[in-house]
Symmetry: C2
DNA sequence: TGTACATCAGTGAACGCGCGTTCACTGATGTAC
DNA sequence: TGTACATCAGTGAACGCGCGTTCACTGATGTAC
């Protein structure tokens, strides 16, 4: 079936979509295989059990998100080499990207699993933890570069500021989903951008 | 059993805790009744089905949250009648309250259900929507009062700013849960507070 | 080039278990006359 | 005050269904000699 061997990828695609809509436990293997026209045992050829699906799905999500941030802020740096300006450009690009998704961003797998964490083993929870710590470090480093050139108006915990990028994105996605809107998260990112501007700009 | 008739309340307590740990689908009626030493049918005396448990749990959570905000910002207003100062005091009180919870805030039921919304009927989703719109309005009104006395440094979408309180709280809770920390959300609220200060203060 | 074997990507039937829900019943307390 | 009935807060056994998982098998493609 399915041309070459992208079945495993297709399983992950379908699973990700379903998990964002109803959570991991409520996403049955049956519905995944039904959507792909394979048998239940076909699923178990690719994943030894459901927990392995969770791990693969989360790993893939984190890698994709990291790549997206890499590309986006590299591009921003190309457009303006100044640390503050490139951060502001990066956040604007992020907001635009989120705004341009047709039916709104489908949500974050990490947030979805954060409220179901007793379902997963220690390894999966550690994966999530490291991803968030990675983002904290990524943005903290960028804010340190900025602070060197533009001393902040008020003394600020740069770890907390780094976390705020994730926090506002995750929170904005929850509001967006619950409201049934599709530009809430973009607006929240723009608020964060304005905070950064007020905090650092001369 | 259980002294007077608080069994229904106890069911909601146990369910809420369990839902925040593993989600609604993975929370079985069996585990709830086992924790309370009643039979499965005892549960069905109080709730006609599992969806009614969801609705009651979410309604109760929203009411409690609204009362908390009412009390907290009323108290802040008692301490200082100025709209900006009382908002800043209110956010500080909120951060302290979140910081003082022994093992960290257990999480938000609305966020938990936002990533499982296909499990619930339209009524439940509408409940969540109205709660978030209520918070938007609550904080927007406060920011309007502030803006009248302290013109913001930059023109700002006050709906988005109102949403930011919920957004930063929800996002902070996700990070806190995923990181296994217990003061992340308090720090995020303090960052938001600093933004408001920079935006409005003379 | 032909044959033997290995690997890949699955199929189909069966399993046991736990889940939400129903149903007839119960014992204690409250209320009417 | 006594009796009859109603309500409250459940119990215990049974139900059918869907779930994750296992197992023996298969047909197509790849590789060795």
């Amino acid at each position: 079936m399915a041309g070459k061997t992208q079945t495993k990828t297709l399983i992950l695609d379908v699973a990700e979509k379903a998990v964002l809509e109803k959570g991991f436990e409520a996403t049955s293997i049956e519905e995944i295989v039904a959507a792909l026209d394979i048998s239940r045992s076909g699923f178990f050829y690719h994943f030894k059990d459901k927990n392995e699906l969770a791990r693969a799905m989360i790993e893939r999500y984190i890698n994709a998100e990291n790549e997206l941030y890499d590309d986006l802020f590299a591009r921003a740096r190309e457009l303006d080499d100044d640390p503050l300006h490139s951060m502001l450009i990066g956040l604007k690009l992020l907001a635009e990207l989120l705004d341009d998704i047709p039916n709104g961003h489908p949500g974050c797998i990490i947030a979805a699993t954060a409220y179901q964490d007793r379902l997963f083993d220690h390894g999966v929870r550690e994966l999530n933890r490291q991803a968030i710590l990675g983002w904290r470090k990524r943005f903290r480093n960028m804010f340190e570069d900025i602070a060197e050139k533009y001393p902040p108006k008020v003394d600020t915990d740069l770890d907390a500021l780094g976390d705020m990028v994730s926090s506002v994105a995750e929170g904005g996605l929850i509001l967006q989903r619950a409201l049934g809107e599709n530009n809430t998260v973009a607006k929240q990112i723009m608020q964060l951008r304005q905070y950064i501007q007020l905090l650092f700009a001369k």
